[in-house]
């Protein structure tokens, strides 16, 4: 409850939450506001924004409604961002918890693998995964999740390393608790807050990764994604720059919202750090 109060005391955190709610509202309302397929032909191509009340944000080079694509794009960004983050955090916690708690050779092996993932540039790995498994919504989401787990794994491991020698964990062992109970019941609840906060960073990066992939036309071409639209607008960039500009702002706002919420959570959950 204190944490909640602290969260709402920070203006930046509140702005972030409002922005995030707006993006979520867009994603939810897309189906009611724009009943037609956002990728279907809607009108004359390249209508400038605010010049035609039917197409508030104008149309793109093939005459599709930009506003509709922005609304549907919110769904894709949140979906890919959310699911990929869940995948990354889950793998990260699993790897980090075992490596940090057991140490020794378990830690060695797991950290070698983590290191391998970090040594390979994540976008290059993403390209490899897309090249191998194709560019459907599902494969892209999983691929983004799979390239994003090393950082949360390292964070979880660091938390476990510092917590496992804490006296209350030793006390758990002297009481005769099993390892799995100590990991789940004693250490994990204490290690979780920073990892949850870090999830916001993972989500921001995941949204950016997907949009970059879509911009390069390597993401699913059959869904209305902001990155796709920016890539499409590139062909008419010199004059009709708005086709690329508008979805870019949508990405910026979404990532900003996620980051602000994450920062707000961080300050609310670790009040000590904020006080100085």
């Amino acid at each position: 409850m204190d944490a909640l109060k602290r969260y709402f005391r920070s203006p930046a955190a509140v702005i972030g939450l409002i922005l995030l709610l707006v993006v979520i509202a867009m994603a939810v309302s897309a189906g009611f506001l724009y009943t037609r397929d956002p990728l279907s032909l809607a009108g004359r191509p390249l209508i400038w924004p605010f010049s035609n009340p039917r197409f508030l944000l104008g149309t793109d080079n093939s005459g599709r409604d930009i506003a509709a694509q922005i609304f549907y794009g919110a769904r894709i960004s949140l979906l890919i961002g959310g699911v990929a983050t869940a995948i990354a955090i889950l793998i990260g916690i699993l790897v980090g918890a075992f490596a940090g708690y057991y140490g020794g050779w378990v830690d060695n092996v797991l950290m070698r693998i983590t290191e391998a993932f970090q040594t390979l540039p994540n976008f290059v790995l993403l390209l490899v995964l897309v090249a191998v498994f194709g560019s459907t919504l599902t494969t892209v989401t999983i691929a983004v999740g799979v390239v994003s787990w090393p950082a949360p794994a390292r964070l979880t491991r660091a938390e476990f390393l510092s917590l496992r020698n804490r006296e209350f964990v030793q006390a758990g062992r002297t009481l005769g608790m099993r390892d799995i109970k100590i990991i789940l019941g004693e250490i994990l609840p204490n290690a979780l807050p920073p990892v949850i906060v870090y999830a916001s960073v993972v989500m921001a990066v995941a949204i950016l990764l997907e949009s970059a992939l879509a911009f390069l036309r390597l993401s699913d071409p059959n869904v209305a994604s902001w990155g796709n639209l920016i890539g499409l607008g590139r062909d008419v960039l010199r004059v009709q720059w708005y086709v690329s500009a508008i979805p870019g702002i949508a990405i910026l706002v979404t990532v900003l919202a996620v980051s602000l919420v994450g920062q707000g959570l961080n300050d609310a959950l670790n009040p000590r750090l904020k006080s100085r």
Binding site: A171, T174, L175, P189
Partner: protein
Amino acid sequence: MSEAILSLERLSVRLPEGADRPHALSDVSLSIASNEILCVVGESGSGKSMMANAIMRLLPNEVKIENGRMLFEGRDLCAADTAEMREVRGAGIAMIFQEPMTALNPLRTIGDQIGEMFSIHTGLSNAEINARVLALLADVRIPDPKLAAKAYPHELSGGQRQRAMIAMALALDPKLLIADEPTTALDVTTQAQILKLIRDLQQRKKTAVLFITHDFGVVAEIADRVVVMQHGRIVEQGTANEVLHHPVHPYTRQLIAAVPPLKAPPPRPLSSENILTIASVSKTYRTGGFLGRGARVTAAVKDTSLDLPKGATLGIVGESGSGKSTLARCIVRLIDPDTGSIVLNGKDWAKLSREEVRRETRHIQMVFQDPFASLNPRRKAAELVAQGPIVHGTPRVTAIAEARKLFELVGLDPSAGDRYPHEFSGGQRQRIGLARALALKPEVLVADEPVSALDVSVQAQVLKLLADLRQRLGLSIIFITHDLRVAAQICDLVAVMKDGAVVEHGLATEVFGKPKHPYTQALLDSIPGGEFAREHDTAAE
């Protein structure tokens, strides 16, 4: 008395809103003359460290001096601007801190950091500065000044680092030296050396010293005059002799009464039956090294054998790095010993598998040092205490009900079970830790420095509780401590450890009364205010 170097007149320091009290210091008046050591004594939270920072005008941003004056050589420091203050700091008033490791910049050499004093306040050439630095390091009796000047802080021992800090503080012959608990982080033998050094230098240079401490032993050792503080107020001040031997204020009396006397009480009869027998236990650590090269091998515990008679308390005493904590953790099998046997109830505890240890662990339980780190912050107190029995199969409801009964046993309100650890004070948390260990009805209790993180008055209460429980529950206790005075209070038997080995063990009265090993003698001689502790004992009787 000679003229005052520094006098505080009705100084009040305001804390930011939301702190536990409105003022860190209220109406504090005191004065220090040249060539005297004034000890400021108080428990944690008494505002004594805040006073030091206020004098240096180094208070945190939100903390403000509200009113009063601080006259230093006739000038009011409260009114001084930042440039004037900078001239005073270092040159007029110098300061040394509790933790010499963190008080020195880890990335710069000792010589460089001491030399900075001269480059800030004087126009000396580099060569002159170097010569002065070496002379200063020789002054504080650092073994090899040339080498020490080139060393980084992590390359020196704790005692040497504090010597370097003192050298730095005294570089410009300040009129006043503020020492904020300068020996608290040090081992007892090192502490004795540093106290002697401060005393010697002070007498030679006629410096005034404001010495902040929580330890009446240190006061007895070093003070000319004493100021006792409680909750940001001065409750009593006077000469060392007056305050130590004829305290007036009840709080001072209470503090002094809580100081454990050095002499062990007369021995209790001990059972001839041993409940725990430790034989030739060793534990070696290997650190660093790559593929076996350059590995450092540390023998934390070397071939140690000890017996614990039923119902007795065995104290294991030693300085940091002596291996006492490793031994304690071997006994409860938090650490697996390399060799040796630990026989409890006829079973060799050292040979049991992890699974067997888990099942048998209720016979032997542990109490930890840090009352803040030893309780899971996310569990309620009753749950913490009930955890052990639940693990071993007691139904949850029964276990929680029993936990509440245990609360009473350790002197806590049974209703406190619904609160989280951070809502308790240090002493109360330590009682919860004790209740948690007792919940499994162990025969042997291993207590690792259970009172060293506590204020002296709370320390006395917890020790009394422990002695009381030992009697009522027939516990046998292994008591790990670095503090010989504490060991003298509660232990029947004492073993002194140094570098992983037991150098002397026997009845507490014997070891403290007629120490045989030179190291034990050195330890006993190093106890600050040894004279006072012995006198104090007779006064109490």
